[in-house]
């Protein structure tokens, strides 16, 4: 349906404190990544670093990019594109990770 007709962009204005809070969160998370990389967690180093990066990206997308106040369609676009990226990764790795399997 035409959900768009007849209104000017009366969009949500995010209050300033939110922006600053997110900024500090991002800075702290950056610190955490760096710190984590200095200590040896064995195989866990990499997943942790990625997890932190994902959290940071999520914060940016939700608040700096206003996804949280956006239409459902925008959510679909964002989640959809990560889903597609997931398809690329998962299916390519389905090859690389099973190549060494022995066949009986």
């Amino acid at each position: 349906m035409n959900d768009h007709h007849g209104h000017a962009p009366t969009h949500h204005v995010t209050p300033l404190p939110v922006y600053f809070a997110i900024f500090f969160a991002l800075m702290i998370l950056t610190g955490i990544t760096v710190w984590i990389s200095r200590v040896d967690l064995g195989v866990m180093n990499f997943p942790v670093a990625m997890a932190v990066a994902i959290v940071k990206a999520t914060l940016v997308i939700l608040f700096f990019m206003h996804l949280i106040h956006s239409t459902r369609l925008t959510w679909v676009v964002v989640l959809g594109s990560f889903l597609w990226l997931g398809v690329l990764f998962v299916l390519i790795f389905s090859d690389y990770l099973t190549r060494a399997w022995v066949m009986y």
């Binding site: 099973t98 190549r99 060494a100 399997w101 022995v102 066949m103 009986y104």
Partner: protein
Amino acid sequence: MRSDFPLFPEQASTVAPYVDALYLFLVGITGLVSLLIWIAVFYFAIKYRRRPENELAEEIEPPQMLEIAWTVIPAIIFVGIFVAGAWVYFHINRVPDDALDIYATGRQWMWKFQHPSGQREINTLHVPVNRPIRITMASEDVIHSLWFPVFRVKADVLPNRYRTMWFEATKTGRFHIFCAEYCGTQHSGMIGWVEVMEPTAYQRWLAGGAEGSLASQGEKLFQKYACHTCHTNEATGRGPILAGLYGKQIQLTNNSRVLADDNYLRESILNPQAKIAAGFQPIMPTFQGQVNEEELIKLLAYIRSMPAAAPVVAPPTASAGPAATQNKGTVQ
């Protein structure tokens, strides 16, 4: 123009009947359904052609059941096709345990084959009938693809990596070999013949003038390249003991383990720094550019043939690991 021309390839291997059966099954089922569709299209197009009395089409409510039926039934048929196809594919990839090893090297634009007994040949391959043959192959330059249409098998031949394929010929005779992956100017000239012979004839052919078995040729190279200076049969050598190495799990310095298969041996010789066996220094020089594909095959044949028995103190590398997986087809 020739008057006799084949419309179907000869069946000359154990897997060919399976492939053909699957193919004909597919021709049958899809042909049937397609035929029904064309008949329907033409029948409707003629029966309901536009005439003054049917200017206005009749509106019919599509029955939901019909939609579901022609979604689900094809889906079931398709999954059936998948299962059959996968089954045949498995058959094509699962190398029998008692296969005879032959090595193939592809290069622009010829095929080189090496038999374990040392025979080499170019663009022709002699094999015995009724005996599973495993071909281990690599390319010296670009990707090629070894295709035996009468055996219904084909596999891409990759640079810097060993792959295997197998077949068991069921008919004697002379059949085409094609390169099926585009590889440059003379791609269409990268063809040859496979001669399937009676076992006795094959033995006779083998006896004709070889310079000793692959392994013994490999042993000479092992001396020539001075591998033996480091890889001695004593645990005190600078390099790991290679005897009995093949098919074992190897402990590496970075805490992971790898299976010592052809590809691992290949990498160890050409790019020794990539994976370092635990307990050793990364001092082995690279032989990239010195050892060519064919020599590599000989070296590998030699390493594989080294008896595992001699030293009791196994290298720290080859401690655990299941019984030799040597003859199981690894998925490459």
